[in-house]
Amino acid sequence: MSGAPKLPITVKAEIDLVLVTVTAMGLATRLWGITYPAAVVFDEVYYGQFTSLYMKNIFFIDDSGPPLGHMILAFGAFLGGFDGNFVWNRIGAEYPCSVPVWSLRLLPALAGALSVPLAYQIVVELGYSHLAALGAALLVLCENSLVAQSRFMLLESVLIFFLLLAVLSYLKFHSHHKRSAHFSPSWWFWLLLTGVACACAVGVKYMGLFTYFLLLCVAGAHAWQVIGDPKLSNTAVLYHVVARGAVLVALPVVLYLGFFCLHLKLLYRTGPHDQVMTSAFQASLEGGLARITQGQPLEVSYGSQITLRNVLSQPVPCWLHSHKGNYPIRYGDGRGSSHQQQVTCYPFKDVNNWWIVKDPGRRELVVSNPPRPVRHGDTVQLVHGMTARFLNTHDVAAPMSPHTQEVSCYIDYNISMPAQDLWRVEVVNRESEREVWKTILSEVRLVHINTTAVLKLSGASLPDWGFRQLEVVADKMARGYHQSMAWNVEEHRYGKSHEQKEREVELHSPSQIHVGRNLSFMAKFAELQWKMLTLKNEDSEHKYSSSPLEWITMDTNIAYWLHPTSNAQIHLIGNIVIWSSANVSLCVYAALFLWYLLRRRRRMKDIPEDSWSQWVLVGAVCVGGWAVNYLPFFMMEKTLFLYHYLPALTFEILLPPVVLQHVHDHILRFPAHRHAFSALVLAWLSSVYLVYRSFSPLTYGQPTLSAAELGSLRWKDTWDILVRKR
């Protein structure tokens, strides 16, 4: 790359007509009739909600994957001018004309269409002929499941697009490297594109990590060869390793953070999932808690009126609560209670969540002037705002967790059971010994003075007498830190009323004073990512969920949509010829690979060195890509669907053309055999097309088939094809 560009500047354009043709066919198959049906199809009901929320800038949390995928869908909605006003509640609900169906579905369909030329180029780049590449492109083109999955507002096609792009750019990069075009602009371009595509794939779904790790392994093996290359100087090797490390590791991490940054920038309004987040996070959103907490005093002082939220937020976020209602004298199992006022954790905002921090040495329940802040290690009493009773615990077994102590609001029955209502405040996340107790920011542990028990959310719910609220206990055995023992002040104001009646009025009125505070992006990111990974959804089986073993032979399908009146329907159902030939070629590949490997070990070389390294690379990309995207599902405990297999399948169906060419070139010796073989391949390709045609009514949802025709398409007993009873 030396010298100034030579004049005159000329552009030579080469157009691969085959490539253009397959791209056009990809676009045609994916985009044809894309607005049909104008109704919510399967998981659109799920992704649609998030698109609407993006349009309205409302914060949400979704544990299914990082935000890039949702943002891409939302971008489509933005292009179509969608205003977000649609209730996504039911599969099959008709879209009104205000929903731009075409642009909502456009981006996934484009991604699906572009996967076809990507497949073509990957096979070329692996060193196989254009004929084999054309075969691979045709297989991707005619795979009904890939077509169906691309045509709706779903994320798999986007994921597959980025996966293929990452693999292709890495292969391009590698071939530039082999041609010794080190550090040339195109070398950099393909390397950078690899990094970007990997980041995007991971950003769309966590599943992208599998292929990313595979590429890292391949890149690592290649880098290891670079390290061992005696022609390169030590500095050059260092440059190579650092360049790869920066682009393939650091860049994706930065981009991934970028997606979250954009996500948080877009979603700045309060929304339905706020309560999952910590108070500090919620306070950073516009509206909601921010409106309440804006202007709260920062330091909790004697006389402060506070609500205490449990930090664990599981099973639901809740606040320390008491109400007029006593523990029953005897429980169902015969144990007795103190019959004092119940203390619970209540998952809704309520005036009974207010507590007043009282100095045990003084009588006042108001904040003195100047306020005296409560510090780590101070002893306080907590007075329930509405009933003016003191938070108390004693050596009585708790209702649901008998190994811990009951927590109550103390009622003096004059039965030699004295009040034990002193609590030591321990600020868990303090930086110094005498740190002040701060609103929202501080997590505190309340340690009972008499028994050293810690106030804790047990996780059990009380029965009907406790209105099914959550049980709060004091645990003597509690050691170490657990979120169920940590509480933070969410709402806070300085109490002003001396009289109980006035105070009740004051508690009912909303609070307002100002303190501004902001969470850093990294803190928000860390919290959001952590919540997304640990958010537990009730994992129940779905009518169309399946197990990984059923995928490989396609024993299962998913009904995506059924016409409200006719038999027209859309299914995720694969092209059975493609699936089985992919499986067969996988076995052939494995057998041949083992055979060659063992023979080479004994210095018997059946194929030339070049073909062998090609063959190994194909294995790493196609078989490796299939394995890393498939096998991990056996260890997952979440609800799985057939569409989870599609990335693996995409890699697997690149294999048949490659294996066929290999057999043709290296195994068949006689021209007659080769001719016969080519004829067989043609027959096979036409059967692929025929199956694609016959199942296309289930892929495109039109034309409508009769019940008999539908019955004849049920090739396996385990497929659920819906037939309307007349």
């Binding site: 390290i227 061992g228 059990a460 055995m477 129940s540 089986e541 969920s545 004994r602 210095r603």
Partner: protein
């Protein structure tokens, strides 16, 4: 030649080294790799030129492997004086290590004289063997059999109930069982010592490893009680030692000791797997090592394929067939010894139960054919299927219709009893003649305890959403047409009578056409973690949809002695494995229970209370010596850094001295083995859904400790790259001494964890452990 001359000052005699080199070269001249060893002393340029020829990095590794033989040969050639002195030292050290570990493990072994922690399980199971009572456990039987045997041989009669932790042993003889476990636990340091010695050929490395294990309070505590862990670790480390020894006999294939170590490896593998399924990891380790070994043999062109076949067969026999047959024979003994009915019966099929003396199916006697009005229990035919069960609880809101739950339950219980009724809802007259149930009849099953009918309808089943919900419906046996089921005998024709125990039947729901099905999925807490029962619209014949009648009581019919088909041994074996695996994965942490996480373990985050809670009690706390554990953790990082440097410099073709190459080899081969062992025994826990405990880390700790020994030994030796040899020597011996003193001192500090603490807990300044609570999460 400068590299070689530096070697002259080292403890190995350079003259012998180089002569051995030459000798080897002449011996195996045709090998390119060995020629390269000879050329090592040449200048860098020459070496580079050579590397251009060999593009395959593997070849380069091989020539490092070559040096090993060189050293081996050298040892034989060295005059007897140094070698035998060296060997004497290793023997003395071995004796010292063995003595120390016996002392530390047996000290206060009888304390505390009450049940500690899981002794309640394993002691109880040992007693079951002595009493020959059948029980069910999630682990394979060998460990408990050995405990039982040890108890039996030392005079324990199996009469102690082992009811709960804290119960006093009183006059029962528990010493034998504890001593047996402690004895196996004492073998760990010597085994680790020998393994590291074999891998690194360095006495200090072996001594570091041995002292890590001897002075680790965790290893001591876990070896002192009636637990499976010392037995498991004994077999794990036994397999590793035999594998390493076997590998070192590479050059003497098919010699007596070669066979011995190979056989021992197989025996130990069977032992490890026979104690706990964790043994699978060490099998994986040995398997990977064997595959690599075979791969190298296959690459040796001089080795004929016939000879290679012999190698292959020897390994298949010793490492697959032998362990498998041993493993199976453990089970055979297990089933042979336990021939009396006990607490584990209900987990197994009716056929299995009929083998057990005292079970109601043993020489069962009941009416032969199913009749209306009989009281029955129905068991799912699926392996380890449960009894059809119901109880006074409704399905919760949001789970289908709010009617009574129907589940499958493994334990024998009066709620498993059902009446067989005919279609009409009126009760039978006791004087009516007996009517038998026939294939194709429409029947109704009424739950004896709650008088509800088995019922199904078009609601989703709770877990298997493709199926319909099955409920208990109706009052006092009066329900609706959804209570009708058609009974089909598998392989029968209309009119066939239904044989109790022997007929497999299907129940087809009359109005929806679905079949009564047990999916094997565990219901959540509202269903008491029993197994789901649903009605499947898919009529494919599977064991899940087949049931058999197990108990059958009908006063009007004569009881006939039934000879149930005794199951074959392979059937029993398969069944017990499925039950065990299901039991294992069923051990889920309860809601909000703070369970131990794998990342807690290497940082020694939290231990386990073995005995005692409050101030006055004698407390034992299972916690590793933090100095040792943190050093182990740090050493893993150190190892990764060192091995990266070593591998990169070899890959770059940097000229290394003979000694440095030898160290690289130890690091990359010996270290790799240990690192792999650690990874294999640690990482899988991250994917496990079952409840995990701190003590699961101990097998991994063994590997981690051996890695520490190798790493530090190599690191201390490698100072010669920076400073002169005499200084290196001083750093080396000083470093090893400091390490061992450090372990000793930390052991002195923390020994009360193992040998018992009394008095206030550690956060109290007056406690004997005051100031040692270095982490907030430790509970002593």
């Amino acid at each position: 030649m400068s590299v070689e001359s530096r070697g002259c000052e080292s403890e190995y005699d350079p003259k012998h080294g180089s002569s051995a080199l030459r000798k080897r070269v002449t011996e195996r001249e045709p090998h390119k790799g060995n020629v390269k060893v000879a050329e090592n002393t040449e200048t860098r340029g020459a070496n580079n030129k050579h590397q251009n020829h060999s593009l395959n990095p593997r070849l380069k590794l091989q020539d490092i492997g070559g040096t090993e033989h060189v050293l081996g040969l050298k040892k034989c050639n060295t005059p007897a004086s140094t070698t035998s002195a060296h060997q004497e030292w290793t023997v003395y050290s071995l004796i010292l290590v063995a003595l120390l570990s016996l002392c530390t493990r047996f000290y206060k072994i009888l304390e505390p004289p009450h049940i500690c922690w899981d002794e309640t399980h394993f002691g109880k199971m040992g007693s079951y063997y002595i009493n020959q009572t059948f029980f069910f456990d999630v682990h394979p039987p060998l460990g408990k059999m050995l405990i039982g045997l040890a108890g039996y041989l030392t005079g324990y009669d199996g009469s102690f109930p082992f009811a709960k932790p804290g119960d006093k042993f009183e006059e029962h003889n528990y010493a034998g069982m504890r001593a047996f476990c402690a004895l196996l636990g004492s073998c760990l340091p010597p085994f680790a010592y020998l393994t590291v010695l074999e891998l690194s050929k360095s006495l200090p490395a072996a001594l570091i490893t041995a002292s890590l294990l001897i002075f680790d309070t965790g290893c001591i505590t876990i070896s002192q009680y009636i637990l499976l862990d010392p037995i498991l670790m004994f077999f794990i480390l036994g397999s590793v030692l035999s594998m390493v020894k076997f590998s070192s006999h590479r050059e003497r294939a098919f010699s007596g000791s070669w066979w011995l170590w190979l056989l021992l490896t197989g025996v130990n593998l069977a032992g490890a797997l026979g104690v706990k399924f964790v043994g699978l990891f060490v099998i994986l380790l040995v398997g990977m090592n064997t595959v690599r070994d075979l791969w190298n043999l296959l690459g040796d062109i001089n080795l004929s394929l016939v000879l290679f076949g012999k190698h292959l067969l020897a390994r298949v026999f010793c490492l697959i067939l032998l362990p498998a047959s041993l493993y199976i024979s453990f089970f055979a003994i297990h089933f042979l010894v336990l021939n009396k009915s006990g607490p584990g019966d209900g987990f197994f099929s009716s056929a299995f139960q009929s083998r057990l003396i005292g079970n109601n199916l043993h020489n069962a006697s009941m009416p032969e054919y199913l009749a209306y009005g009989s009281t029955i229990t129905m068991k799912n035919v699926r392996i380890a299927g449960g009894y059809l069960h119901s109880h006074w609880h409704l399905y919760p809101e949001g789970v289908g219709a709010r009617q009574q739950q129907i589940t499958a339950y493994s334990h024998k219980d009066f709620n498993n009893l059902w009446f067989v009724r005919n279609q009409d809802f009126k009760t039978e007259n006791p004087t009516d003649p007996v009517e038998f149930v026939k294939h194709g009849d429409i029947i109704r099953l009424e739950h004896k305890e709650t008088s509800r009918n088995l019922h199904s309808h078009l609601h989703e089943a709770p877990l298997t959403k493709k199926h319909f919900q099955v409920t208990g419906y109706g009052i006092n046996g009066t329900g609706d047409p959804n209570d009708f089921w058609q009974i089909e005998v598998c392989g029968g024709k209309p009119g066939d009578l239904v044989k109790v125990l022997r007929s497999k039947v299907r129940l087809i729901h009359l109005s929806t056409g679905c079949v009564l099905y047990s999916s094997g999925k565990t219901l959540p807490k509202w269903g008491w973690e029993q197994v789901e029962v649903s009605c499947s619209p898919y009529l494919k014949d599977t064991p899940n949809s087949q049931w058999n009648f197990e108990d059958h009581v009908n006063a009007k019919l004569p009881n006939i002695s039934l000879e149930v088909l005794k199951p074959s041994f392979p059937e029993i074996l398969l069944e017990s494995h499925i039950v065990m695996i299901r039991g294992n994965s069923g051990l889920k942490p309860k809601d909000n229970e703070v369970s131990s996480k794998p990342w807690h373990w290497p940082i020694n985050y939290q231990g386990l209370r073995f005995s005692g809670v409050n101030e006055t009690e004698y407390r034992i706390y299972l916690l590793g010596n933090p100095v040792i554990w943190w050093l182990n953790l740090f050493s893993i990082a150190l190892y990764v850094v060192m091995v990266t440097i070593a591998a990169t410099s070899i890959q770059r073709g940097i000229q290394l001295s003979q000694k440095a190459r030898e160290r690289c080899r130890v690091l990359m081969e010996g270290g790799r083995e240990m690192m792999l062992g650690w990874l294999l025994h640690y990482l899988p826990f991250f994917t496990m859904g079952r409840i995990l405990y701190y003590h699961h880390y101990f097998p991994a700790l063994l590997f981690s400790s051996m890695l520490t020994g190798i790493t530090w030994d190599t690191m201390l030796q490698s100072w010669d790259l920076f400073v002169s040899p005499p200084v290196t020597q001083r750093i080396y011996s000083g470093g090893v001494a400091v390490l061992i003193i450090l372990f000793l001192y930390s052991f002195y500090l923390f020994h009360p964890l193992s040998y018992g603490m009394v008095g206030p807990p550690a956060h109290d300044p007056s406690s004997p452990m005051a100031g040692l609570k270095w982490m907030e999460s430790w509970e002593f």
